[in-house]
Amino acid sequence: MKYVDEFRDGVLAKNLAASIAQESRPDKTYRLMEFCGGHTHALSRYGLLGMLPANVQMIHGPGCPVCVLPIGRVDLAIRLALEHDVILCSYGDCLRVPASEQMSLLKAKARGADVRMVYSALDAVKIATQNPTRQVVFFAIGFETTTPPTASVIKQAQASGLKNFSVLCNHVLTLPAMEAILTQPGGVPLQGLVGPAHVSTVIGSQPYQSITSRFRMPIVISGFEPLDLLQAILMLLRQVNEGRAEVENEFTRAVTPEGNRKAQALVDEIFEVRDSFEWRGLGSLPVSGLKIRAAFAEFDAELRFPDLVYRNVPDHKACECGAILRGEKRPQDCKIFGTVCTPDNPVGSCMVSSEGACAAHYTYGRYTDSKGMP
């Protein structure tokens, strides 16, 4: 545990907070977006937001895999489970995402659908092996972090000739989402980006260079520990103050410039980029999602069940998830935050996952709302 304690040291944290305060210029506002939901969670959980000066504002980004999944994609999984009698395997976080007609995978399960929560893609393959007479579908979601494990099980399924296993692929890419955030009309002006930790261990720090050069946007890749985040914020402030726009890597203990080549090759072997993919909040983005290559088509649930057609479904009328994922609004700006919409009874996806901005603010931060604190 020494390892963890090193990154949660109160004295170091206070020193970093003091350095941030010193570095921030009172005449400036620093709007920094933490792209990744893991960072959103950590900022709230460790109470870091209150340690920042008022002019250093953290804007929550779209890097929460469950949050950006549009209703239409969840509907597909629900239809598979209810109408095609498959065993639908999903990560726990997806089970409670509200879908069309007030359904969710959890509610489908209550109606008799065979929905199973798995901890990894491998668990889904095991279920398929154990149930040879049933079709088993893995509801794959996530950014570059969760893609290699999905690729690996597809490869494994082909090698072992598994006939009853397929993947409903919803894997998405980080860079197109960043680009969308920076190019959207009327979007919030940002001064810097905190780059994701786990994603960057896979893709490396190099790919972000296109963002820094095209948009003159400072990026600091940060680890998940609270001291990592404070350090990354300090590094961003320095870049802004010195007029630099570079990719800096705070998380050098895990992230290299080129990333994990093996994982990249594996993903490239199994997946190709879709022409476009629908994101909650960001709309339909070109070359932003992955699909399974033709050579592995038999494991593509969208091809195995041809009547499975994606339909775009608008979010709940009052739900501000879209604007929150674009960084334009805060959870507390949503009219039904904490009243109609709570973690026990989520209306939008941002209230479901622990990485969602609404869930994080509800769980750790909402006490500040009534007092006008940060």
Binding site: G47, G50, I141, L227, E355, Y362, Y367, S370
Partner: protein
Amino acid sequence: MSKTKSIYVRPLDIKQGRVDMSHGSGGRASAQLIETVFTAALDNEYLRQGNDGAVLPLPPAGSRLVMSTDGHVVSPLFFPGGNIGSLSVHGTVNDLAMMGARPLWLSASFILEEGLPLADLLRIVDSMARAAKTAGVVIVTGDTKVVERGKGDGVYISTTGVGYVQGTTNPSGNRARAGDTILLSGTIGDHGMAIMSQREGLQFESAIESDSAALHGLVAAMLATGADIRVLRDPTRGGLATTLNEIARQSGMGMVIDEAGIPVNKAVAAACEFLGLDPLYVANEGKLIAICAAADAAMLLAAMRAHPLGQSAAEIGAVIEDASCFVQMKTKLGGRRMVDWLNGDQLPRIC
């Protein structure tokens, strides 16, 4: 009993035998199980009479009766630091103690699952007997039922306790006032993580033991200081976080606690980190929260620390005025956040 000739053809095979449906039938097999396992281990004048209930003396004049009940369904049945038997005694004794009461009598109701090894049952009942003896309470009446295999987790035990409280002692969840001090009797999360480490088959450098213990002795020492203990609560299921939220809501107050002041065993912290759990939400079975006026805090804390079950007692925070009844926490890092009720299940993170 020893003078009458045994009515049983064969003695119970404790080593190899298992609970079967006949043990719950109310017939001879039931009687044999009760005599050999329960009455033998828990032996006292009330049980020995073999009646349907116990006739008990009144507590001292002027005192008030306190009664509480608790069901125990822990799995696994045996864990480092105790088993369901000792737990079922401590649970109810502590519920009485949290009312400021001196516990006297318990009843115990067992739901046994067909197939439970008799040796396990004996171990459980023995440990109940020892826990009761140490706590100075008497199990005066009981009941046993058997359910079919697959319909129970080996054994469920419900215990009900009766005790009495004297004088003006009146701890209650709704009496916390702004400015009051919040005290905690020791480390948190030990019981829950002892159970978890068994369930997940985890091996940690140092074994985590349940803190399961009867707290009325500690409470008696605290009451003896004369301090007005406004609130007493044992943070069991849902852990410290849930219990503080319950008290805050009952009292219509807020709280600010200090993360750095909350004692957590190293092994527990490590196990929580590994499993992605927050010790604030992990169960305890031998800890208490006490809330008193700030002026009484030092005296009460000293009394707690002088007791073997309160050695690492600490002041962890204060009650504040807050109509929303939020529990806030100063984090170790120097930040601040709220500590909410537990939201649903803690699911594994995927990214």
